[in-house]
Every structure is written in C-alpha cells, then in structure tokens.
Symmetry: D2
Subunit: 347 residues, 4 copies
C-alpha cells in the first residue's frame, strides 16, 4: 500500500477523494490537510460531510493538518483539491519530495507539467523527467484537466484518431457542485440558470488541443483543431452536460462514429487500472439521453455517457451529440486518482 | 374594438392570450373555445388558472364553446393556441371567414401562409392576398414562428442586415412551460435536464432562414445562412435561454455589433403598436446575464435580452452571445397578438 | 426459491419492487403484469425505467402479461403495486390461490385483512386464518400501510410501548415520487409547494391507531391515541419528511426517549429477515438533520431517520421530532417485501 | 414628503425596502447605508440587484454611507434591515434622534420597545412614550415581528378576538430568501429540504402571545395561549407556508371561522394607509391552495392567504389551515413600512 495525503480535504472535491480512496487497493489515506481553521481537529469534526455516502470509518479520526510539506508527513503521493491560487504556491513545495496528483488549474499549462487523461495522452507523462531536471525536484506534479474538458476530450480522442476534426463548438450545462458547496446560492438557480462560469470557457478552449497534441522533444504541439465554448450553470447537483457540434473534414457514416466511440479503450483499460471504467465512453440510443441524474454514475462515475449522436441535417459534414460526465468524479477526484494509478503502474 | 376569440383557451398559451388581451385597447375577448369536455362551462369553471396573475374578471363568465366556426360566433379575429394536429384541421375552416393569428406550427411552412415576426419580416404579409386567392377564403391565416426561433431571429435580423452571416449554431436551454402545464413531470427535471425536445431542432433550423428570406413574386427564397440547433429542457418555469455561435463572413467591431443589436427597431416600433416593446433587443453588459428568471419579463415579456456579446477568442470571425426570451409571451401568445395588431393597422 | 409476480410492474413502485427483488435470496421474479397496453411486450420494451439504478438483466426479457390470475402463472406470491381502484377488483381474485402482498390502499381497512409493519404488529397476521375462512380463499391478502404512515408508526411504536401517548400532530413534506412518475408536473412544484395530497391525511390519521391496536378474538381495537395530519408536497424526488408533535401523558427524559427510539428492534431484526434494517430507527444528533436527500437511503432505504428529538419548550409534556423515510422503499415496495419475508418465515 | 434612510440597504430585505419605497407617496429615500466596503459608492455600483423588478432610477445615484448616525444625514425615519448583532449596537444610536422602524430581531422583546403589526396591536405603540422617557431619546425604535410570526399572527388575531384559543401547533415550510441571498446554498436544497432554521422556532413561539397581549400600565401581559413550532426550509424562492393546528376551547362553525378570517380589518384598513392591503387575510376555497408561488404576491405581497380551513376530523375542537405570507414583503420590509405609515399618521 502507498500512503497518500489529500490537500484541501474538507471541500467538495476533497470529500470525493476520500470517498473514492476509502477502499482503494493500492492507496491508503494517512494524511489530510485543510485550512488553518481546521488544522488540529479530527476530520469528522473539521468537515461537514456533503456526500450521500457516509464518511468512511477509517478517515474520521485522522487529525487534519495545515497544508504544508512539513505537516503532511509519511506520504508518497499527495492529491490536491486546492483552490488555484493556493495550489500555485503550495504544489511546487510538495513536488520537491512528493508525487503531486493535482486537480487544480494552477500548473496545468506549464510547459513541463503533464496535463493528462490516462485514456487519452498517457505519453505526456514523459514530461516528468524534464520537469524534475528543470526544477531540481525529487517529486513532480501531474495535473488533470478541467471537469468539462475531460468529458469532452474523452469523446474527441477516438474521433480525432479516425477523422479530421476541424472545429468544435461546445455549449455546457454544468452542475452546481462544480462551484463548491457554497458556490451557487439557491436564490441564483431556482427557476433560473446562470450563463457564465468564471474562466471556464478559456479552460475548455485551451486544454483540449493541448491534451491531444504531440509531445516531441519535450514540447507539446497542440492539435490543429480548435474549440469554442459557451458555459452555463443549471439546477443540477452533479454531472455536467455538454452539447457538442463538430465540423469535420471528412465524410463519415454515423454508425461508424458511434462504433468508434463505443469501442474506445485506452491504456487504463489495457492495464486494468483499479479506477478505470470498462467503457470510457458509453453510447446510448434513446432520443432523450444522456441525462445528468440518470447517467452521471455510470461505472462509478468514471464513464462519459454520450447520446443523440447524429449527422447534422443542416451541415452535412458535421456531427452533433450530447454528453454527460460526472464533474467531481471523472472530472476531478477520479481523474487525479486514475493519473496516480497510472503513474504507480508505469513510472 | 375588434371582437376576438381564442382557440384552445384553457392551456398554458391560451391563458397567456387571455392575460395579454384582458386590457387590450383594440381587441375584446368575446369567445373562448376548448375541447368538448370544457364546452358549455363558464371559463372560470373550465380552466385551472396556471398564471401568477389573476384570471381577468371580464373573462370568468364567458361560456366556453367547442372549437368550431359554427360555435365561435361574432368575432373577427381568432387567436389559435391549438395543438398542431388539431390546428391543421380547424384553422383552415376558421380562415374561410376569419383572420386566424396562429401560434400553432401546422401551417407555418405552407408556401402561401405568412410566417411573421412583425419587427423582422412584416412584408411577408403580402402572401395573404395569394393565400385568399389560392384557397378562396374571405379570411386568412398568419402564423408566428416557434418560441425558440422568434427569440433567435430577433437577434439575427439586425446582424443579418449589417453583416454577412454564414453559419449559426444554437444550443437552447428551454423552460418547462414550453411543453404545456403537464408536459414535463417533476420527476424528469428535479436535479436533472432533458437533452431533447420533440421536433424542436427542426423548427429552429428551418424557420430562421425562411423568415429572413426575400418574398418575390409570391415565393419566399430563404436566406443563405443556415442554422444548426441542439435543444434541451432545463428546470426553469418560463424563459428560453439560447447560446448562439455565429460564423461571420466579415470583420466586425464587437462594440458595433452591440450597437446594431441595441438600436434595432422594426415596423411595430415605428407604428407604436400596443404590444410592441420599445426595444425589441436589450443588450446587457454584466458578465452573468441574461438569466431567465431575471430577464424574461423585460417590457412585459416582449423584448429579447442579450448578454455576453463577445468576439470569439478562438475563431476570430465569430460572434458569440446568450439570449433570453419569454417563451409563452414573446415566443407564443404575444407574438400572435403583435401579428394581429400589425394586421389591424396595415391591412 | 419462491416464484413471485409483480402486479403493476411498470410504474414507480413496480420498478422499486423489481429493483429490490432482483438479487433477492428467497424470491425470484418470474411474472410481471401491467395494463393491456404493455401486455405481450418484453419488460424492457414495455417500461420506461425511471430509477437511477439499471434495469436488472434477468428481468428485461420477461414478457409482461395482463393483470389477471389466468395470465400470471406459476407464482406463489404476488406483490401488488396497483392503483387502489384496480386493486379492489383484482386482488381478491389473486387471493383465491396466491399470497398477495399489497401496497395498495384498497383492502387495508377491511377487518379481516392484516395491515402490517413487521417491526410493529406482526401479530396482526393472525387475521389471515379468519380471512381465508370468511372468504373461502386458499391464498390471502396482507397489506402494508400508506408511505407516510409507515415512517410515522415506526417511530411511534417504541414510544407507545414505553409512554402514554395522548395526541399526535404531524405535518408532512412529501416527495414527488409518491404521486407516480407523471403525478406532479414540474410547473406545479418549481419554486412552489402544494399543500394538499388527495386522501393522504385520512390515511395518516386512520391507520396508525389501527396498526398499534390490539388484535383480540379476530378484532383489532385501535390504540387510544389519535393523529391529526396536514400533508404537503415539496420539490424533493424521494423521501418523505414529517414534523411530529406528540402530547404525552407522562413525564419523560429526552435522552431516554432517544434511547428508546435507537434501541427499537422488532421481529424482522430478531429473525434477521433479508430486507430488515439493522436499525429500524436511526437517531441523529445534528441540528439540521434528517434531510431527505442525505438520509433516505439509510440501510438501503429501509430505516427511518429521526432528528431534532427534543422536549417541547412550550408544552412541557410534549415531544417534537422530525423524521425522514424513503417513500417508495420503506414506504411501499420494501414494506410489502418485508411482509412477504415475514410470512415466508413464520406462516 | 418625509425623508427616510435605509440601514443595510444592499441585502435582500434592504432591496425590498427600496423597491417598496421607490414610489411611496409619503416617504422619500434620501439616504442608504451599508457596510464599510460599500460606503462611498453609488448604490447601483455597491449593490447586486437581486429582485425581478428593476433598480429604481431615483436610487441608483445615491451614495451609500456607513451605518452611523453621523453619516446618515437629513432623514427623519430610518428603516433597519440590519443583522441582529449590528442592530443591537446601532439602532439605539439612531433612536436618539430618529424614528427607527426596524425589521431586526435585536430589540423586539425589550419591554419598552413596541413589537407591532398595525392590523393587530397598534395600541402597543403607546410604549413609545415610556421608551423615550426611560432612555432619554428624542426618537424611538418600533419593531415588527419575525416573518413567520407576522403571517401566523395575522390569522390568529381575528380568531383570538372571537374564540378561545388554547394551543397552537405550527409547522413551517420557509422560503430560501429568508436566509439572505447567499444564505442557502443550492447544494443544500435541490432535491432536499433542511428541517432547521437557527433561532426561528423560538421567535415563532415567543412573539405571538406577546403581540396579542394586553398593554396595561406600560407592561405587556402575553395572551394565555401558547405556540409550538417546527421550522423547515424548502426549495421556494419567496413566500413562507405554514401548516397550523389550533386547539380551541369553544365549539365553532367552520363557515363562521372562515367568515371571521375574511372579514378581518384593522386600523391600517380604516385609515387607508398606503401599504395596507384591502384584505389582510384572504381565504381560498380550492383544496390545493395556498401555494407560495401562486399566492405570495396577493395585494402587493401584503396579504396573508389562507386555505384548507377545516374542522379537524380527529380532534373535534380543533381548527386546521394552511397559510402563505410573503416573507420579505409582509414579513419584513413591508411590515416596517406599514409601521412607519401608521406612526406617521397617528403619532
């Protein structure tokens, strides 16, 4: 068993880390950090547990410590659920000696930090060596993309491998949990939606071509297609829904498109990593699916569910579909954990 | 005062007709029709009033009649809130002697039936003459577009007049009232959304180029641009929100785009029609607007509110924005009434 | 294994029966009935699956039959999720040869039909013998109470055994699933609540004293206390919440009251029945619990979660608390199944 | 016109004060205070406007000042929408020279501070004289009760005048706006309810007998009946719903009870105060009313709507009913304004 710590363990994503790691066969939670206010308390006393599941027994009594390498002791890997501004300061300190599997956005676009979805671009982990050399660290940081990006790219990857993607338009309908427990007041979302999420569109536009880019001689050259996003918050607890329009350079048979999506497997499936879904992408045929409440928990929340895959009747060369991905599992804690499982297996 | 009747007066849109016509200076409700089950009852007894406003006093005692020209007596104009299949049968019968201002989809795409938004294509009313000649009717049918189409086209019209629009992508987040009072079960939409609305995408794709098309020698030639839509139902009572991506053929200054939207006025504004909003399109600058609950009632629900008007940072020639329009007012009953006001003024 | 059938298998409660019986160690689903419209179809084709779980594989291919004893073949027990009016006609027919474990209200108050919560009044099953004699049936009907009643009575039983209960006031906040999938339109409940549920208050008032009554010489004498209810529908998917005020005839220590609730065990716990929760009543100490979304699934939805157990500061002799019970599991399908498990064990 | 100021003008209740006073015939808003963070800014820049209505033109440019008598200049009356802890410190300072019409709970139960609902106990204003004498103030403080209390007491008053009320049980279903804009996270209330509101039950239990008490020789003797409350938060934007059970000492005819409620008029109706509703209590006969979304805005949100008025079928001497009152209008800002109108008229 590898001892692991969770940085920012009391928030929404921190709690998902705990839930997903509670019975993990390779990783054992031995340290939890949070803000100074919580430090020194038993986890059960420090955190208000927000999830439907119960707070795991083996975590209740862990004493929460300050988010500092001198306090988070005896762990090999730290999972980071920190806010971006704190992550920017703290993650490099931890990386001196630890593997940092981060869900924070702070270091995602640094040229020597891998931004990885294990099914999509595991080869970007090669940046680790350069990162350690550049920075003189014994440990390193590996990041996963933004929640909306992950679900989108998991569907783009199999298409990108088979077809010429020219342009992607994506309109998201995102769950309130993405903003943290207190992020969206009920006054803002009952009988309403909010057509804006800070910095989200930039992430959804920037990250996908980078993730699908080629790593050569230590430099990632982004893929040629581009993504334009419009991001919106809706009255859903968990599960981001995205309407995707793709301008293709090729002719295609829609049944073949579905087959390509359905058959998509990546390295985690090959290696049978513990958190890897059997089917990274599930394609449904019902006209009114995917729906966030009905589909977000597919394969423990680690699959992306796609539906309404159709040839655009207006623009012949276009594909349209709708996807749902669980934002705090596949899109956050689960993503970091799968990264760590892959690292644990291959590095 | 012109005596008017409302066909399908007990449903959601029927009730909006009643609400909007209750104090109308030109039209007086003198007849209400509904299904046979309701015929013979006082309106107050036949209908469960769904709106926040009160059922108007002058309507309570009107006896509901069957939806047939022999029963709907003494009126010049009928407003149709009928389902499409019934409208297809009944509206032609009424048109023999009446002006039919219809919100139903049944006859929208008939080549001799005007599909009109008064601010956008009032000249299409010229089809009326041909319609009467073709069909030997003393009356005629004029239709308004689908709710999502109306809000979209009201924003496209001023842009289309100034710029070269090539492609439009629109992703909608539509209110539950659009499906009628019983249309969306609460079990389907609490903590959820439904990424499908029957026949909606086809309407949103087909109608806009037709409405913006040129009428010459009795034939509408659709505008050259095309629209691709993805339509979704969200937990909002009233007010459709649409995320719009436009591929433009021209360079543009985004401030000029906003100015063009803001300054848009049409014939109803010139004629100062009773239900015409002063500003058909309202542009907001806040980063998190428009929101359906906050913006749907602008100018009594007859304006479309646009926000987040921005140059696409990825695709330089693209415009992106979000709009909100009240689906049962501007997108349904109010649209038919404005059509009738225009007809009353100019025909 | 006992072969069982489910009557009314396509509705909300019917689906819960299927979900709960899919992996049952004693009962095997071999027949499913529904309305004529569904008869002859594979279950997967006949039903729109509403639950978050997946439709069980072993049920998908069962051919749905008409709800008639001549069609529902080869089963010993039938579970009834029928509407009351249909149940009134059909359940007696099935009872000629089958054990009918019914969630319907039709026969609950018949003097020779047991109305049973296994933890509370298993001795009422003695009515079965009289029922069979009276009616000349080889089978019999056993019913479970209304969903709101069950959760309430499970908390009243341990108190009733220890204290003198004089009056109970209960105000419910009930989930929309209780009305069936289409029962509550979203237009009725978004930003709203409905302070009325047809016939519900009568059930909640009539059933508890009857269930807690003594069965002597074939007659149930209701308990002496009475219940007054006010029932309301709120925007919650599953889980009924009830605010309970009890006027007591005794002095009491509130800690002892909590202990009595916590320690409550019944015959199903003693017999270790498969669906029996370890703790029929769970008492929480947080000031803001129980909450339906957080607590409805305790012990697979078979426990009732109680919180805010407090001495009334105004009326010294009163107890106040709030409870949550899963309405379609503990309050419906799970209740019938636990009845059947008890019957299977002891009759 | 009387110049008035609003203390705490940027919050939910502060905004309701502004909305309700914008076109007031007697009061003119000339000063607005808020926290130091907002002081010095134009109101439009300091506040995020939360209401569906528009921010009034005549208020946009008012410079927000610090909440201190030395800053809030040139006003005769101040309306207080301050949090209780700040109100406790600040309101006495303002009362040295101003009339303070307060919605805060801080001073409600002080023996020389009137706690007034103008329709119910206007005679309690006689405490003002004593208050001024006791404290040496030129101004004074008058308070209105808690939002849930006001709606409840408005229905109890006419009953109390005609009947012998012995005990009242009330179970509330309260709107999220009562907690302020950020008070209830959407994660807490979607598909959920929260059965607890801090300090609410104590207010609902303590205030009603006090308000209905007799003021004699400077001392209020509470009415003899008592109230026991259980308070819950539900997913409703505005409008508190309360289920009321009353144990009566008398026989009564339920039709007479309704008549008494319907005919209730108080001093504000007699004096035709500007904000006074024509009917303080509206009684509806539909079985499923009142509903918060449908009924909260009756008479500009100043009436309480009562429905399901019924004789308890279980406890013969009991009355049961459900009420809805607008919590931030009748239950907060509107209540303070009506107090000020009454003072302006009679003191």
């Amino acid at each position: 068993m590898v001892n692991v710590g969770i940085l920012g363990a009391t928030g929404m994503v921190g709690q998902r880390f705990i839930e997903l790691l509670a019975d993990h066969p390779e990783f054992e939670i031995t340290a939890l950090s949070a803000s100074k206010r919580s430090a020194g308390k038993r986890y059960e006393d420090a955190a208000t547990w927000y999830l439907d599941s119960k707070i795991p027994e083996n975590v209740k009594d862990i004493l929460v410590v300050d988010t500092d390498p001198s306090e988070v002791k005896g762990v090999e890997i730290v999972f980071s659920a920190l806010p971006a501004d704190i992550a920017a300061v703290v993650e490099p300190k931890f990386a001196e000696k630890h593997i940092v599997a981060s869900n924070a956005s702070a270091m995602r676009m640094e040229p020597d930090v891998p931004l990885v979805i294990p099914e999509v671009n595991p080869e970007h982990l090669d940046l680790v060596e350069m990162q350690q050399k550049n920075r003189g660290w014994d440990g390193f940081v590996v990041t996963n993309p933004n929640c909306s990006t992950i679900a989108l790219v998991m569907t783009l990857k199999p298409l990108y491998d088979q077809f010429d993607i020219k342009r992607v338009y994506v309109s998201t309908m995102q769950a309130v949990s993405g903003a943290g427990y207190d992020g969206v007041p009920s006054m803002a979302i009952i009988d309403n939606l909010v057509p804006f999420i800070g910095e989200e569109e930039d992430k959804v536009e920037t990250e996908p071509p980078y993730i699908l880019g080629d790593l050569e001689e230590g430099v990632v050259t982004p893929a040629q297609f581009k993504v334009s996003a419009s991001c919106h918050r809706v009255a859903v607890l968990d599960g981001h829904t995205e309407a995707v329009f793709i301008e293709m350079g090729d002719n295609f048979e829609i049944d073949y498109v579905k087959k390509v999506l359905r058959n998509f497997k990546g390295l985690p499936q090959k290696l049978e990593l513990y958190s890897a879904p059997k089917n990274p992408v599930i394609v449904r045929e019902e006209e009114n699916r995917p729906q966030p409440r009905m589909d977000r928990n597919e394969e423990n929340g680690m699959s992306v569910v796609v539906g309404r895959v159709r040839k655009d009747t207006v623009f012949d060369d276009n594909i349209k579909y709708v996807l749902v991905g669980h934002n705090t599992i596949r899109g956050a804690a689960g993503a970091s954990i799968l990264n760590a499982e892959l690292i644990n297996e291959i590095l």
